[in-house]
């Protein structure tokens, strides 16, 4: 794959999120505050197995973890 972010294990959505975060942070002060509120994400998620709910984890850190795993996996292979 030709993209650096793809080889780094990011998904397209993660790539978009990072890019938009950079754009938001470089806005002027008043606009930045309004825009950064649009970028907030505070979800938790849980995996289910055999009808039992797993542990509730924050989504953001879990996503980062998954991306990091994907990155190390792709480097090894």
């Amino acid at each position: 794959m030709a993209f650096a972010w793809k080889t780094a294990g990011l998904t397209y959505n993660r790539y978009l999120a990072v890019a938009s975060r950079v754009v938001r942070r470089s806005l002027k002060e008043d606009k930045r505050l309004a825009a950064e509120r649009r970028g907030e994400m505070d979800l938790r998620f849980a995996k289910w197995e055999n009808g039992k709910q797993g542990e509730n984890k924050p989504l953001a850190s879990a996503n980062e973890q998954a991306m990091a795993d994907a990155a190390s996996g792709s480097q090894q292979s």
Binding site: T11, N13, M41, L43, F45, A46, W48
Partner: protein
């Protein structure tokens, strides 16, 4: 007395505490006070529901604006697949993924149970097997009881505020990371028809294979290797659309529910007010009668 004789336990308990029979006079006073207490509590409830209604109305306008904005995302993304004439692949034996967009909060009528009922109907028709991804605590609680073994992921924290694209893309990422191949991903949400009505609707998010096989896709002149990205992005778009529309529905449903609750509370207040006045009148009349008969008796 027959009924009491028939139940010896009752007689025994009556024998233990004979002091339960108070003067009938005191009883009417007590009910008067009881009615007053209930009136007060109903008034408080009415106040609360009215405030919640106002909060929901203000949130509704914001939610509707967000919905209209998000619709553009969803429709543009749909446009691509319409032009490409993408059809969902009929993967035999492959599972489909059903994403249910509800929210964490209740007190908004039947919109969450509407979604749950739709899901259960899909299972009941059942020549297809689904895995569930559930956004929001309410549907999780409802479906966790009946279809717990089919749930793959559940997300909490949805619906606190107007959903953002960051929410949608994070969820989409986690869904794409799911192990297992799905022939298609269906997103179930409440479609906003007008302020009074909404219905559970499904939008399709296609799999990579389906996009590649669509007849007109070559006219876009897109590299094959980019299809995965397109799929992820389209999933996020559709999710964002579904979340925002579901949120607007929830707010409008909550507004209606609170409106009805305040109306019912008003009805109850009227009824209890009349009952209260009648009872008070009856007590006063009773007392007057007693005084007069007492006076008449002592005169002689």
């Amino acid at each position: 007395m027959l009924s009491r004789a028939a139940r010896p336990a009752l007689r025994a308990s009556a024998a233990i505490k004979p002091a339960t029979a108070v003067a009938p006079n005191a009883a009417t006073y007590a009910t008067l006070r009881e009615i007053e207490g209930r009136l007060k509590s109903i008034r408080n409830i009415e106040k609360i529901t009215k405030t919640m209604k106002i909060v929901a109305s203000t949130k509704l306008t914001r939610a509707q604006r967000a919905m209209n904005e998000s619709r553009v995302y969803g429709q543009t993304s749909d446009q691509v697949f319409k032009e490409a004439e993408t059809k969902p692949t009929e993967g035999e034996g492959k599972k489909q993924l059903l994403v249910v967009c509800s929210s964490d909060k209740g007190l908004c009528g039947g919109i969450h149970s509407g979604l749950s009922r739709y899901v259960r109907r899909q299972f009941a028709e059942g020549n297809q097997s689904y895995d569930l991804v559930i956004l929001g605590e309410k549907c999780k609680a409802q479906l966790g009881r009946s279809n717990g073994k089919d749930i793959a992921l559940s997300f909490a924290g949805v619906g606190k505020d107007v959903p953002t694209f960051a929410d949608a893309s994070a969820i989409a990422d986690q869904i794409t990371l799911l192990p297992g191949e799905y022939s298609s991903i269906k997103i179930l949400y409440n479609k906003f028809i007008n302020a009074q009505s909404y219905e559970p609707t499904v939008v399709e998010a296609f799999s990579e294979e389906a996009i590649a096989n669509s007849p007109n896709f070559s006219s876009f002149e897109v590299d094959e290797s980019l299809l995965g990205n397109l799929r992820e992005y389209a999933l996020a778009n559709s999710l964002y659309w579904a979340l925002a529309e579901g949120h607007a529905c929830e707010q409008s449903a909550r507004r209606n529910a609170m409106d009805n609750a305040s109306k019912n509370a008003g009805d109850m207040i009227n009824k209890f007010q009349i009952l209260f006045n009648r009872t008070r009148q009856a007590v006063i009349t009773g007392e007057l009668v007693e005084i007069i008969t007492g006076a008449a008796a002592s005169e002689e």
